[in-house]
Amino acid sequence: MSVEAQQGIATPRIPAGLGGLLPALMLIGLFFVVPVLALLLRSVTDPAPGLQNYAALLGDGTYARVFFNTFLVAAVVTIVTVLVAFPVAWMLAIMPPALASILFGIIILSMWTNLLTRTYAWMVLLQRTGVINRALMGAGIIDQPLPLINNLTGVTIGMVYIMLPFMILPLVGTLRAIDPMTLRAAALCGASPLAAFRRILLPLSLPGIAAGGLMVFVMSLGYFVTPALLGGTSNMMLAEMIAQMIQSLLNWGLGSAAAFVLLVVTMALYALQLRLVGARRTTGGA
């Protein structure tokens, strides 16, 4: 509906229609923007005015390792999620509707199940004496339990599990929007399946992969619960460090500075993601 079409019908209402936004803007302004800005202010005033919190954060090797770990985990999780999600989304996009709706049901069930429930299940499954280690030992594949929890492996499994639906579902949309004729044409012209995949299917789904992957990366960067429960102390992530600085160490200055670093990185990547999705929409609509 264009603006002219809406203006053409003269229904009496508040000219700008801004009134309806007031409650939402008051809520977000007062209880979101103000507290976040106050936190930012605290990072440069607590305990004394200045940038010493940021200097401490960026100058210390311990914190540098946390930053590095955070990016490492987010990157590993994103790559694994993309690799696992793509074939599933591909099948979902073309499989018979009855089969697809069962698969969608499973995905939604896992996505809607309480986050702590899912993480608890992985804690039990992955522990030293857990089902997975016992099964592997029972099958004679290993004779020592594998360290699957409190390390990068545990965090990756738990996080990929949570992120998969966020990658699969949008990717199905991207893949469904591709015209199967383009691939039939490629086959007719003699392209091998591998060539058709590499030169047609993959490039056409790349915008969806990039947008979904970036979203998974951004979400992983700031994740708190799963890394805190499945990760180890040697590979702590940023969100957990922030929570610890505030809750256990009561170091508000340093904690809010770290929070602000996380905010800036997240928002910058989010802006990039919006541009990617926006670009896809305009090209898709043309």
């Binding site: 229904t11 977000i28 507290p35 073309i94 069930l109 608890y120 591709i178 619960v225």
Partner: protein, 266 residues
């Protein structure tokens, strides 16, 4: 041929096998937790040496679990009502309003969804400490409504964008007042969006852990906080029993959603 299900050949077998594996991976924790909750081993041995209901008895015998669940239900219900009401008003303004900067305002209202929750959690925690709202029901509801608002606005605004406004105008031409037309024509037409908004904002609060960990007080605990506390101390099977009930609730919500959608669409 790669997008023709029936002409994939051997590739179809490989892809289907992989997809089945991933589906099993997605189901594994959910099924496992339910089985575990009926297992008799306190040390979570699996497969369990026997079957029992004692973890459920222990769960229901402990008033702190019941109280936490009721607190969560209360806070999530209030959050859903507030988020849908505020989100409904905001969606009308965002979709139909004629003012500059609509996209920016929409972006602002959706920001709580993308900002890492831990950042918001410590910000609102500090803010509420100063206002004396920390550890109160009001504090919980306000903080959760901020987080739930995007999940209310997105489905309602999407439904409203798909609704042909000339139907509402026709009602007005036929003598309905603008308010009557909204209540009797527009709102019923976008009810699927409103319904999804209610479910999503309820879940946004019901499942919320991070803000709750900071805000909780010894006298006011939500269910996720209770589970979090138990998880950090030991992995007792009582958590599995509580978790299984949450899985049952999720399944119930999914079925209700599917049924209502079918009913509302016809």
């Amino acid at each position: 041929m790669l997008l023709d299900y029936d002409r994939l050949g051997w590739l179809k077998v490989v892809l289907l096998a992989f997809t089945t594996l991933v589906a099993a991976f997605l189901l594994l924790p959910v099924v496992f937790i339910v089985l575990l909750s009926f297992g008799s081993s306190r040390w979570l041995a699996f497969p369990p040496p026997g079957w029992t209901l004692k973890w459920y008895q222990e769960l229901f015998a402990d008033p702190s679990w019941i109280e936490a669940a009721l607190t969560s239900a209360r806070i999530a219900t209030m959050t859903a009502i507030l988020a849908v009401a505020i989100g409904l008003l905001a969606s009308f303004a965002l979709v139909r309003g004629q003012f500059g900067g609509r996209e920016i305002l929409r972006g602002l209202l959706l920001t709580p969804m993308v900002l890492p929750v831990v950042v918001f959690a410590i910000a609102i925690y500090a803010f509420f400490l100063r206002l004396g709202l920390g550890g109160t029901t009001v504090g919980f509801v306000v903080a959760h409504t901020v987080l739930a608002l995007p999940f209310a606005i997105i489905p309602i605004a999407t439904a409203l964008e798909g609704f042909d406004k000339s139907i509402e105008d026709a009602a007005i031409v036929c003598g309905a007042s603008p308010l009557q037309a909204k209540f009797r024509i527009t709102l019923p037409s976008i009810r699927i969006g409103i319904f999804s908004a209610a479910i999503f904002s309820f879940l946004a609060s019901w499942d919320e852990v991070v803000v709750a960990i900071f805000m909780a007080s010894p006298t006011l605990q939500t269910l996720p906080v209770k589970i979090w506390g138990s998880l950090r101390s030991d992995l007792t099977p009582v958590i599995a029993a509580a978790s299984s009930l949450l899985v049952a609730l999720t399944l119930a919500l999914m079925i209700v959603t599917a049924l209502l959608r079918r009913k509302l669409q016809t």
